[in-house]
């Protein structure tokens, strides 16, 4: 047997960047199951096209940079999936591709790809699409009135306002909060399956891919603001239920604010960051121009994250050992 030289360490913990990204991809894929069951194959087609587009953009940029092309960390695919989850199902196919182009070519690769992005690329892509094409981003089809949905190609259907839009205009949504749990109402593709998002969240926390402190502080602050300052005339509990289940708030809390690269690194900093993002998203809902301000809130909170870290600078202290062996 020929023996080689190698350097320690020779064993690694199971978690690696690719495995963490694969966990997130798996969780996002689970979110697609219910829409496929209800609406046919279009969600899969859109997700596939967007992920392919993201991969191509990353390869293109690596070629321009004359760096080695490596897609083995699946972070571009995760970005693509998150973008498609925040779009309506009846959006034309070029819309997520345009958002993905911005996300990868402007918000991710010029900064150094994974690990160095100051803003969450998926949030930046969705924000760009929202600003440039607000009509296409927020017209959701009515699930009850839709006939067969074509796999690709544009389709026009009877439009229905999503609960978030109804809340923004000060009226109570038609659908009962309990019925919203099953996910058959007008909204972005991945954000209506409330129960599945909760399950995905628990899965990611158990695998230590996402940190639970950000999500919990985010949801607590959002719930408190919804309880004390309801947008519609109803009881506090109903307001909390509607606010937490409408729009992309829950999805954003599990998948977007928990991104470890853009979140602060200290434990107390993460709690402050989650609270700040929750406050921002409720303010955007109340005073913003669009019915859902999740992506903007995430971007502003990302901008504040380094400052939160700098606020809490200070190293851990250990008691001095009396002697070393």
């Amino acid at each position: 047997m020929t023996l080689n030289e190698a350097r320690a360490p020779f064993v690694k913990s199971e978690a690696s960047v690719s495995s963490m990204m694969r966990d997130v991809l798996f969780a996002l894929a689970m979110l697609l199951v219910l829409p496929v069951v209800h609406y046919g194959i279009r969600p899969l087609v859109m997700a596939g096209v967007t992920m392919l587009a993201c991969a191509l953009y990353e390869i293109l940029f690596s070629l321009i940079q004359t760096k080695s092309i490596s897609l083995s960390d699946c972070s571009s695919m995760v970005t693509g999936m998150i973008i498609i989850m925040l779009m309506p199902l009846n959006a034309p196919l070029w819309l997520p591709c345009a958002a993905a182009a911005f996300a990868i070519l402007v918000a991710k690769m010029p900064f150094g790809s994974i690990g160095h992005t100051p803003f969450n690329p998926a949030a930046a892509g969705v924000a760009f699409a929202t600003l440039c094409w607000p009509k296409q981003m927020f017209s959701y089809f009515n699930p009850a009135a839709a006939g067969t949905i074509p796999a690709y190609g544009d389709f026009t259907a009877a439009l229905a306002p999503s609960p978030a839009a109804v809340l923004k205009s000060g009226l109570k949504p038609d659908i009962l909060p309990l019925d919203m749990l099953w996910g058959v109402f007008a909204g972005p593709l991945g954000t209506t399956g409330i129960l599945i998002i909760c399950a995905c969240g628990l899965f990611l926390f158990a695998k230590r891919t996402a940190r639970w402190d950000i999500t919990v502080s985010f949801l607590i602050v959002a719930a408190l603001i919804a309880a004390f300052f309801p947008r519609i005339a109803c009881s506090s509990l109903t307001s909390v239920k509607y606010e937490l289940m409408s729009g992309s708030l829950l999805f954003c809390s599990v998948f977007m604010v928990t991104d470890p690269v853009t979140a602060p690194h200290r434990a107390l900093g993460r709690i402050l960051y989650g609270a700040f993002a929750g406050f921002l998203i409720m303010m955007f809902r109340r005073f913003g121009a669009f019915e859902q301000g999740a992506c903007f809130a995430v971007i502003i909170a990302n901008a504040a994250a380094p400052q939160i870290d700098a606020l809490l600078v200070g190293s851990q202290r250990l008691g001095d050992e009396p002697y070393d062996e």
Partner: protein
Amino acid sequence: MTNKRNLLRETGTIFLNGVFFKNPVLVGALGLYPVVAAGYNMKNAVELSLLFLFLSLPLNLLFCLVGEMMSVWIRPGLVLTASAVLYLPAAWLTEKLMPGAVTALGMFASLMICNSVILSRADEYAPTHIGWAVAADAVGGSVGFSLVICLTAAIRELWLKGSLWHTNMGVYGTADAGVSLPFFGFILLGFFAAFVQWANEKRSQKAEKRRVPRI
């Protein structure tokens, strides 16, 4: 004779610096507001550039003349006042060249009075340099500013309307108002600034290679 040639060469360098290598908008990060907020169609861009040139050249030359005669602490205030006064002939000239310009620009035209590029050059560069250098710097800065604003405005207008200068170029403009928002201007400026920095780095690398090592 040699003095004059040196003078010409240095003036050329100052001009080029103003245009590209030390572009006041991209490298100095000054005067971002007109570019980002008002530079969303070509007409605005050209009008603003003309206004910039007509305002900065006389102002800089004036302060090259009288700058040393006043105390340093009062100079910024006087620069601002002089800028406001000189705005009137500049605006009249722009209006003469492109009728309806000043009214179309609205607030942005009069905000040129406190454009940070013009004020900083008049306050810091003009009083302590000779006339040729000051003129080269003012004209170079104007050309640099107009380059940046026209480029961003061209891209934004093409994307928004598919046309340049209100004539259809045959390119289908797809985006809604989002492209005319300031954030898009900032992103474009970011990419341009990166390009200028890359050019500067290449230049300094070449200069280092050419330098003869001293023993």
